[in-house]
């Protein structure tokens, strides 16, 4: 299966436009190297006829990307929380130092 067979359905698949553009460039590059007669990129895996395999691949890719995005967002949130805690603790340590320094210098 080549890019030409995927292009008509690209607008109906989420993220398909990007994939379509990417595959278009790849095909063009291969064509310029004289490899245009060969299938550009196998889609859908072996033994899966028609567009079904391609849809499944795209869906799986999208699910992977989504789960990675969720993971990254969680990670970012975790880092933000940690940063907030470190800043607050750092402020406490600084103020504590100032307080004790002040207490000693006012020692009577």
């Amino acid at each position: 299966m080549t890019y030409q067979s995927i292009a008509p359905v690209a607008p109906f698949v989420p993220g398909g436009a990007i994939m379509s553009a990417m595959l278009s460039n790849t095909t063009a590059a291969l064509a310029s190297d004289g490899a245009a007669t060969q299938p550009a990129i196998p889609m859908g895996g072996a033994g899966v006829p028609g567009n079904t395999g391609m849809f499944q691949s795209m869906q799986q890719l999208q699910e992977n990307m989504m789960s990675q995005n969720v993971y990254m967002l969680g990670l970012q949130q975790g880092f933000n929380d940690m940063n907030q805690k470190y800043t607050a603790i750092s402020n406490v340590l600084k103020t504590k130092h100032d307080t004790e320094k002040n207490a000693i210098s006012n020692f009577r």
């Binding site: 607050a88 402020n91 406490v92 103020t95 504590k96 307080t99 004790e100």
Partner: protein, 144 residues
């Protein structure tokens, strides 16, 4: 720059000591604590507690050392002793709040910190208490 009068001022404790020397003694204790020489620092602070029975400052310092060593129970006792000596000491009150938070006695710690803010609303102690309350709001103390 301290005046000549304050340089010559005496601290009346177990024995009379020039104020500047007493300050240097306490600063030496903090310095040793920062260097990780906790035993030496403890000796200095314990000596200062005996030497200046009227003062809250050495008790606060020793409480700080205990907290640093991960002994909040002993830190609470020292801060309570500081408050017995000087009941109006906002610094001791704030440090007591901190030690209570480390003991995971969160409501008592928060109450002690609010009390410290009331005792010295515009001073450094209030700032310390507010910062500690902010840290507590981030659930740092109640985490396992």
């Amino acid at each position: 720059m301290p005046s000549a009068t304050s340089d010559n001022e005496l601290i009346h404790g177990l024995i009379d000591i020039p104020r500047q020397e007493a300050i240097v003694l306490l600063e030496a204790g903090y310095f040793l604590m920062q260097l990780g020489k906790n035993k030496e620092a403890k000796d200095i602070f314990s000596g200062a507690i005996a030497l200046f029975p009227h003062s809250d400052v050495p008790c606060i310092a020793l409480g700080h050392l205990y907290l640093r060593e991960g002994k909040p129970d002993l830190a609470v006792k020292e801060q309570q002793r500081a408050l017995q000596r000087v009941p109006t000491s906002a610094t001791a009150q704030a440090h007591l709040g901190e030690a209570l938070l480390f003991q995971k006695k969160i409501p008592e710690g928060v109450e002690a910190l609010h009390k410290a803010i009331k005792m010295d609303p515009h001073g450094l102690t209030a700032k310390l208490a507010q910062e500690l309350l902010r840290v507590n709001d981030l659930h740092v103390f109640d985490a396992d």
